[in-house]
């Protein structure tokens, strides 16, 4: 049985009882009010199960702190957790949360396939929804240009753009042939296309000698690795990010793909960082940790506390989904409290939405904000891997590269490919 999952759910249920006993110092007028109900829809099973689990832990950390500090504008937060599965069933759970549980806000969603479908429904239902990691992009094209009720995460391509920039920065002139092994859906395709577009932008002549598109969840990558090895690329770009990434790494190491001077860029490796053991993951690769790098030497006190508690409690190290979940909760808190302060009374949903637009928060991984077009801006971390650490998996060598997403994602209303062509991007 999945004891960890059970413990999380028990903890989520038990939080209310513990926190209810605490005094509300900041907002005594609302101490007697009903709790704010936040619905969370996150994957608990399958390839994204561990990702959802990490996100739920980030949410729990945020809620524990919020409730311990007196709640959101004096009202404690109560979570109702539902499972993210396929778009159809996840939308049914959204309906249940909104219509039956009457939640004040919905948060969560890892899969862009789900958020793409759910975004339109949330708009139709006028349900305030803040996505953790999902977007409403069809490929790189925004399908909801002016949403009112839906707030989205940073664009999926941010990590690919940053990984590409680091490849140019560190290895310009050291590679001519490239190969890709990326998941066979829009995320993988866009990531590899973005990489090539950025190479072109920086005038790096290159030839694609192999492009592999394994289905998500493929567990035998021997033939894919053999194909890459046969193509003899100078550089391999891979946005694999689920359980298939450690399998690829192990297979590639076993087949000798990493024995030569081939360079590797893994913009989404952070999702699997603890599974990529040193014994088969060489140092010197570009790894992306997205919006939370757990071992950052200059991390905030907040992040250090979170990582320490996470390690003590779960015997593991968090990745960026915890940050995305924490960010979503803090954005909601900041919006409600700003609206409450402005109105001098409890705000309605429209007031909260207006207040969230442009709100700035300090997330686990660093500063972030919600743009007025309802797309998040956050801080991203990538770098070159090193074995010089106390863990059994590689971390990033110092100095870690840090970029704010206004350098990594297109501005409001702009075409992604046009933005890459015309943007002034600093390396």
């Amino acid at each position: 049985m999945d004891q960890k999952r059970r413990k999380i759910l028990q903890a989520l249920g038990g939080t209310g009882a513990v926190i209810a006993a605490q005094p509300y110092l900041s907002f005594p007028a609302f101490a007697q009010n009903a709790p704010l109900r936040v619905g969370i829809i996150a994957p608990k099973a399958g390839i994204a199960g561990t990702i959802g689990e990490c996100g739920l832990r980030g949410t729990q950390f945020a809620v524990d702190r919020i409730n311990a500090g007196g709640g959101i504008a004096g009202r404690r937060v109560e979570l109702i957790v539902e499972e993210e599965t396929n778009p159809k069933d996840s939308i049914e759970r959204l309906r249940k949360l909104v219509l039956q549980d009457k939640v004040d806000c919905v948060q969560g969603i890892v899969s862009s396939g789900v958020s793409l479908a759910m975004g339109a429904v949330a708009e139709e239902m006028k349900a305030l929804t803040i996505f953790w990691d999902g977007t409403t992009q069809d490929g790189v094209k925004e399908t909801m240009v002016n949403p009112r009720y839906v707030f989205k995460s940073t664009d999926n391509e941010c990590e690919a753009v940053m990984g590409s920039l680091l490849a140019v920065k560190h290895w310009k002139g050291k590679f001519k042939t490239i190969a890709g092994i990326n998941p066979d859906y829009s995320y993988g395709r866009n990531n590899f296309a973005a990489f090539q577009a950025l190479l072109k932008k920086f005038g790096i002549e290159h030839t694609v000698v192999a492009d592999q598109w394994p289905k998500v969840g493929t567990t035998d990558l021997n033939s894919h690795v053999a194909a890459l090895k046969a193509a003899k690329p100078d550089l391999v770009f891979s946005s694999l990010l689920f359980a298939d990434l450690p399998i690829f790494m192990r297979t590639a190491h076993g087949a000798g793909l990493m024995d030569g001077g081939t360079k590797f860029v893994f913009p989404a490796a952070g999702f699997q960082h603890t599974a990529l053991k040193k014994s088969f993951t060489p140092a010197g690769m570009i790894f992306g940790h997205n919006t939370l790098y757990f071992d950052h030497p200059n991390a905030s006190a907040l992040q250090k506390q979170f990582v320490r508690e996470y390690e003590d409690k779960y015997k593991d190290y968090p990745h960026w989904e915890a940050d995305r979940a924490y960010f979503a909760m803090k954005v909601y808190q900041a919006g409600v409290e700003a609206a409450y302060k402005a109105k001098g009374a409890w705000p309605n949903q429209e007031d909260v939405i207006n207040a969230i637009e442009g709100v700035k928060v300090e997330s686990l991984g660093g500063p972030g904000m919600m743009r007025k077009d309802h797309i998040a801006e956050q801080t991203f971390y990538q770098g070159i891997t090193t074995h010089n650490n106390r863990y059994d998996f590689p971390t990033l060598a110092t100095p870690v590269d840090v970029m704010y997403s206004d350098q990594l994602q297109k501005p409001t209303g702009m075409d992604f490919w046009k933005w890459i062509e015309t943007a002034t991007i600093k390396l």
């Binding site: 999952r5 099973a45 598109w213 298939d244 014994s279 088969f280």
Partner: protein
């Protein structure tokens, strides 16, 4: 040439995995005339149980190099579920094929929940244990030693089954039962025991296969269905009920997949199913299958 050998090796490794699943399917169909969709579930069960068994053994202080023996043992022990499942299938031996398919498909779904209950919903892996066997290197070709062991295990199992079926008394009785159940029964063969034995052997092929392969891959809830889909391509190409067909079909599917991935990565499944269609048109009973009389 080195590149071609690498690609060939990738294909043969995949074929070895497929053979272990398809062999159980073929054996059970060959004798009991039941298309056992649950063969992929046995494979997944072997993979999950293998991971747990190795982790337990390591905690008890077993040297990491001995994990292969633990995996084999785990797969063999799990074969004990064979007689239990076979007892359930007895209820549909004389029913229409649709009932048999529905029952074995129900088993697939039930096993998926069993896996979820005991091991959770997240994919499971064995970390870097496979590295303890090192690599083999010759003429520029580098092969993980463990992968070579999996291929060798499949060859040994294929040879063992062939010898067992052709050279032993039990094998001859088994083939006779497959040809004519009533005649065998009339000659004193205990068909019920024979069926239980064959089904258990088919189950063991799956559980051992899953346990053997998991150090190079991962155990996930989706693996039973994914493997069965590919195993059926193997069976259609090789011929339903034929062990030689399972071997040939697995090699064809594995190598076609590897070549497609190298030269036309996006046509991986198309390449395999083009062969399936070609076989269905040119020789509907498969390369080694026997026409139904």
């Amino acid at each position: 040439m080195t590149a071609f050998v690498d690609i060939l090796f990738g294909g043969v490794f995949h074929a070895a995995v497929l053979f272990l699943v398809a062999a159980g399917l073929q054996l059970v169909f060959g004798v009991q005339k039941i298309v056992n969709l649950a063969c992929g579930s046995f494979y997944a069960l072997g993979a999950y149980f293998g991971i747990s068994a190795v982790n337990w053994a390591l905690k008890l202080g077993l040297p990491p190099q001995l994990f292969l023996g633990v995996l084999l043992l785990a797969g063999l022990v799990l074969g004990l579920i064979g007689p239990v499942i076979e007892a359930l299938l007895r209820t549909v031996y004389h029913r229409d094929e649709a009932f048999q398919l529905l029952l074995t498909f129900a088993l697939v779904l039930m096993f998926q929940d069993v896996l979820r209950f005991f091991w959770g919903a997240n994919p499971q892996q064995l970390g870097d244990l496979v590295m303890s066997y090192g690599k083999l290197s010759a003429g520029g070709v580098i092969v993980p030693t463990y992968n070579m062991l999996v291929i060798l295990a499949s060859i040994v199992i294929a040879a063992g089954i062939g010898t067992f079926l052709q050279r032993t008394r039990f094998g001859r009785i088994l083939r006779a039962t497959a040809e004519n159940r009533e005649m065998s029964q009339g000659l004193g063969v205990n068909v019920r025991w024979m069926y239980a034995s064959v089904f258990t052997l088919g189950t063991v092929l799956g559980t051992v296969g899953g346990a053997l392969v998991v150090p190079t891959a991962a155990a996930s809830l989706d693996m039973p269905v994914e493997l069965v889909v590919e195993a059926f391509a193997v069976v259609v190409i090789g011929g339903l009920g034929s062990m030689r067909g399972a071997l040939a079909g697995a090699l064809i599917v594995g190598i076609m997949r590897a070549l497609a991935i190298r030269y036309y990565a996006e046509l991986e499944m198309l390449a395999i199913y083009l062969v399936v269609i070609a076989v269905l048109i040119a020789r509907p009973v498969g390369l080694f299958g026997k026409p139904v009389e």
